[in-house]
């Protein structure tokens, strides 16, 4: 960095420091707003996360003999293991992202690996609900040589299913309804057509594996005929590499078996998580509102401060400060206030959060992640909020600041036609005049003439000014050459009759197009 630049930087820093001392009250309020917003957001967000984690963790995981039970919709064929997509869904779960590369948006497609990555075993089954003398039972019909329901000697009293009419019941049902091996159970099912079918089954065994949702078992063939099925309506699957929370499992399998119902060990946690998210959805509005109000507060304060510092900024500009220096000065001041607010927020959070009972339920790294998120969102919100006052400070001229005039954000100056028409160009050529088109609405001209039609004007003189959008947009029409001014109020055409007939004319590209 050159000596001049470093001197300049040092001077800016000293001036910023002095200004911060002078406007410490306003900056302190901004810092407090940032502190409150950040603290509140991180606290609230972490409380929501801990609620979700806690309720998910407290939900009991099911103990099931299979990894996944698929209840197929009517007439849907189960897919054979060999035909199940491998790896599961890596083609189905395609994620499309858009990246800005080489000045354009590019669509990039990634295959997203899902969990589980492969199924190792699949078995078809059949099932449904049947009424018994005791209750409504959810019956599962399994193959005689099933690899899933293999009971150890101490888990099964009696014998495995061997012939038509055999029934295995869980120990809980046997105890509740006082059933024993050898008892007969009549099961009734009402078909979709409304006809009733009663079938006798004989209890050949009672099993106790400690599994949840244990179901009475019959032979697959019995189930197919009992429930009048044309295709098996259940599939039992084993998976490899099934992680603790297979949150994508149900969503992935819906693409393989649309409309099916799935049962797996973590279904309770997944449902809890989904429902908790739904429950907490309105809370997301609170987080948004908090940032919004911080933004409004900072915008208001910074605008007020700008209004009070107009003379100061005018003096700085008049002694040679460039617009960039002004912006840097303001950025340093507000940036310091924001940094103080954010740092204080981190300290307060560090002190406060361990005192809350739900702190223990927070997954590790949550606070750090939320703090970084909060930092980025706060920076974004503050940038948007401070954009307007900083722009005003940058764009304002010394006169506008001193005389408290409106400061337009958009300034346009016209010394030629922006959209020349053939009529304009013909007029210029035929009468050797210079044409400017003013903006009229419904035959009325909105603006102020600084020089009246008929007067002599000089090149570069402002002829007419127009303000719109409450002064945010400012337009000037400037004389392109010396000459006399004429104005047609109906068409809004401003003509300058040049003193020098050979005065240079603006080279409109359209003139070549129109052959003028």
């Amino acid at each position: 960095m050159s000596r001049a630049n470093s001197n300049r930087a040092a001077a800016l820093g000293r001036l910023a420091f002095k200004n911060m001392k002078r406007w410490w009250g306003r900056l302190a309020v901004i810092a407090v707003l940032v502190l409150l917003t950040s603290t509140l957001n991180v606290l609230y967000h972490s409380m929501l996360i801990s609620q979700q984690t806690k309720s998910t963790a407290e939900t009991e995981r099911l103990e099931l003999p299979y990894d996944l039970l698929v209840k197929l919709p009517e007439n849907m064929q189960p897919i054979a293991l060999e035909e199940l997509p491998k790896p599961l869904n890596s083609k189905l779960m395609v994620e499309t992202v858009y990246n800005w590369e080489q000045n354009r948006w590019k669509e990039l497609t990634y295959e997203v690996p899902s969990v589980p990555t492969a199924f190792s075993y699949a078995e078809t089954a059949a099932g449904g609900f049947a009424d018994t003398a005791y209750n409504r039972w959810d019956i599962l019909g399994v193959r005689q040589d099933t690899a899933i329901f293999r009971f150890a000697a101490d888990e099964l009293q009696g014998t495995w299913l061997s012939q038509t009419g055999d029934l295995l019941i869980p120990y809980q049902d046997a105890a509740e309804y006082r059933l024993a091996i050898g008892d007969t159970v009549v099961m009734r099912v009402i078909n979709p057509s409304g006809s009733q079918l009663d079938t006798e089954f004989h209890i050949c065994g009672i099993f106790d594996t400690g599994d949840d949702l244990a179901q009475p078992l019959i032979l697959f063939e019995d189930a197919v005929s009992f429930f009048s099925l044309s295709v098996p309506n259940r599939q039992l699957l084993f998976c490899n590499e099934l992680l603790t929370h297979a949150t994508g499992l149900e969503k992935n399998m819906q693409q393989v078996y649309p409309g099916a119902v799935f049962l797996y060990e973590w279904i309770a946690q997944n449902r809890t998580q989904q429902l908790t998210t739904e429950m907490q959805a309105p809370s997301a509005w609170i987080l948004l509102l908090i940032y919004l109000f911080m933004g409004f507060g900072v915008l208001t304060l910074s605008l007020i401060t700008f209004l009070e510092r107009r003379k100061e900024l005018a003096v700085l500009k008049s002694i040679g400060f460039s617009n960039l220096h002004i912006v840097i000065l303001l950025v340093i001041e507000y940036g310091c206030a924001t940094a103080v607010g954010l740092l204080s927020s981190l300290l307060v959070l560090r002190a406060l959060i361990p005192r809350f009972s739900w702190y223990q339920s927070l997954p590790s790294g949550t606070l750090e992640r939320l703090s970084i998120q909060n930092l980025m969102v706060t920076a974004l919100v503050l940038t948007i909020s401070l954009l307007y006052p900083v722009l005003l400070a940058k764009l304002a001229t010394v006169n506008q600041l001193i005389y408290k005039r409106k400061i337009p954000l958009i300034v346009e100056r016209f010394d030629h036609l922006v959209k020349p028409t053939p009529q304009h160009l013909l007029l210029e050529r035929d009468r050797n005049v210079r044409v400017l088109q003013l903006e009229i609405e419904e035959g009325k001209l909105f603006g102020s003439f600084l020089r009246q039609p008929g007067e002599h004007v000089k090149q570069g003189e402002v002829l007419l000014i127009q303000e719109s959008f409450s002064g945010f947009v400012y337009k000037e029409w400037i004389a392109p050459c010396n000459g006399f001014l004429e104005f047609d109020p109906f068409s809004g055409i401003l003509l300058i009759l040049p003193d020098d007939p050979n005065a240079p004319r603006y080279n409109y590209p359209a003139s070549k197009l129109f052959g003028v």
């Binding site: 003398a133 005791y134 949702l213 739904e278 959805a281 509005w285 409004f296």
Partner: protein, 497 residues
């Protein structure tokens, strides 16, 4: 004079104060909303549910709408069928297949003390247990093509004609025959819906119905149907009810004129006289005491219906309460009582478009009650904007203030003038926000034929509360800028300006 000056200044600078006015309007509207939980309902809200269930609030012993579990509560996943003794199957028909979450510790019925406690809640006029049990219709008249086919239904015990008010009686929906008279309370008569799912040919008055009712036992405090101990009873249809669900308006493409059709429910509920219901209950359950799993609650006024539901939910956290309008909304949204055939009177395109709007809820949740934090945030922000508005005004009109001070105004006069502006902005914004929310409540109360004096006093009371609160906050936040402007040096300002 300074009050008048403040009002004039505020009126003059209304455009600049727009943001503050709108912000205060938002705060006031939210405050108005919070004063009464809902805007209330007009008299016709939730009509058919109120008549079917006999009350404005339906309560279930088993809570399926979940909210954040409290300390010690856990959720468990179950695939047990929903109770046959409630109408949960209407709202969540797929739960038996998909399973659902329920609280591990849950009540399974309403005891006598529960009913007594509920009836003591302010706003509750009457508590009605719902007498319901499952059954099968086993063929209708002799020679019916339905033969051995069975149709699952629920049988409900209802009071005789005139026992319930017009708003709570299905008698209004009778299209053929009549409702039970007092003399028929023990007779084998039944009132059936015009359309029953599974029955192709609608029943007529005079038809004989064979009803199979299961044996009923209690297992772990839950009522259980024992289908192998069923009893058959023959009933005579004495009345047909047509339950209107919705009216669909559409543009008739043939005539290019607006047209409409009333849609009626396909309901599986049959209505027995109370006496007969008890007789069947005692026969099938061996005189088990009946503890209802579902009740309906009648309240004094629809205007504060949701407030009462809220109070009940807070007081009885293990039960589930839902208002009839919300229950109706859910049933209509899911088309639970309206199969495809119910829309046969409509053109196919209208019917398809309507049915495509069906939304199946996964499992209802009770969202967090965030009225208070949102209200505080909005109020704080509105007050901040009012204060900022005053500060800007003071900054830009320093010369004016200085001149006023120079000609003899005292500090307190300046403060009064500035605060008057703040109050005027607040009252404008607050009134706008209040009336935007309150107007519907007022209209509902007029429709409910509440006394005019009561409507006016309620509105004025709420208005006073809302405007009073917002004004106090605006005064508090506007005091500092007002005092700042009053204390500035006259000479300093005039010299600088």
């Amino acid at each position: 004079m300074f009050l008048k000056l403040g009002v004039t200044n505020a009126w003059r600078n209304l455009a600049r104060s727009l943001l503050a006015i709108l912000s205060m309007a938002l705060a006031a509207s939210f405050l108005s909303y919070s004063v009464s939980l809902e805007k209330g309902y007009a008299g016709g809200a939730g009509q058919f549910i109120r008549r079917m269930d006999g009350g404005e609030i339906i309560a279930y012993a088993e809570r399926l709408s979940l909210e954040m579990p409290k300390e010690g509560e856990t959720w468990v996943f179950t695939d047990q069928p929903l109770s046959d003794f409630t109408d949960y199957g209407l709202y969540y028909p797929e739960y038996t297949e998909t399973g659902y979450l329920r609280l591990a510790e849950q009540a399974n019925y309403f005891s006598e003390s529960d009913l007594a406690s509920i009836s003591e809640v302010p706003g509750v006029e009457k508590v009605n247990p719902i007498y319901q049990m499952p059954a099968w219709i086993a063929g209708a008249t002799a020679g019916s093509s339905q033969g051995n086919q069975k149709t699952a239904v629920s049988v409900l015990g209802k009071s005789e004609s005139g026992a319930e008010s017009a708003a709570h009686s299905l008698e209004e929906y009778i299209i053929d025959g009549h409702w039970f008279s007092e003399e028929e309370m023990d007779s084998n008569s039944v009132v059936v819906p015009q359309y029953i799912p599974g029955i192709e040919k609608p029943l007529k008055v005079g038809d004989l119905l064979h009803l199979e009712i299961p044996g009923i036992t209690r297992s772990e405090d839950r009522l259980v149907s024992q289908w192998f101990e069923r009893q058959t009873v023959e009933l005579k249809v004495i009345g047909i009810v047509a339950i209107p669900t919705r009216y669909v308006s559409y543009l008739n493409s043939a005539t290019a004129l607006p047209d409409g059709a009333q849609i009626y429910a396909y309901s599986s509920e049959l209505y027995l006289p109370q006496g007969l219901w008890w007789k069947l209950w005692n026969q099938t359950s061996q005189k088990l005491p009946y503890y209802p799993e579902q009740i309906s609650i009648q309240i004094n006024s629809l205007t504060y219906l949701e407030d009462t539901v809220y109070d009940l939910s807070n007081q009885f956290t293990h039960f589930q309460f839902i208002s009839a309008p919300k229950a109706e909304e859910r049933l209509l949204r899911n088309f639970s009582l309206e199969p495809e055939v119910a829309f046969r009177a409509l053109p196919a395109s209208v019917s398809t478009e309507l049915r495509n709007q069906a939304i199946r809820e996964q499992q209802a949740v009770i969202s967090a009650d965030l009225r208070l934090p949102i209200l505080l945030l909005i109020l704080f922000n509105a007050a901040l904007l009012v204060a900022a508005n005053i500060l800007i005004m003071v900054t830009e009109r320093k010369r004016e203030m200085a001149i006023l001070k120079a000609i003899g105004s005292m500090r307190k006069n300046i403060v009064v003038m500035v605060l008057t502006e703040a109050v005027m902005v607040t009252i404008l914004g607050g009134s706008l926000g209040f009336f935007l929310v309150e107007i519907q409540s007022i209209l509902n109360q007029i429709t409910n034929q509440n006394p005019i004096l009561s409507i006016v006093s309620s509105a004025l009371r709420n208005y006073g509360l809302v405007i009073g609160s917002t004004t106090l906050i605006a005064l508090f936040f506007g005091l500092f800028p007002a005092m700042k402007s009053a204390s500035m040096s006259v000479m300093g300002v005039l010299r600088d300006e």
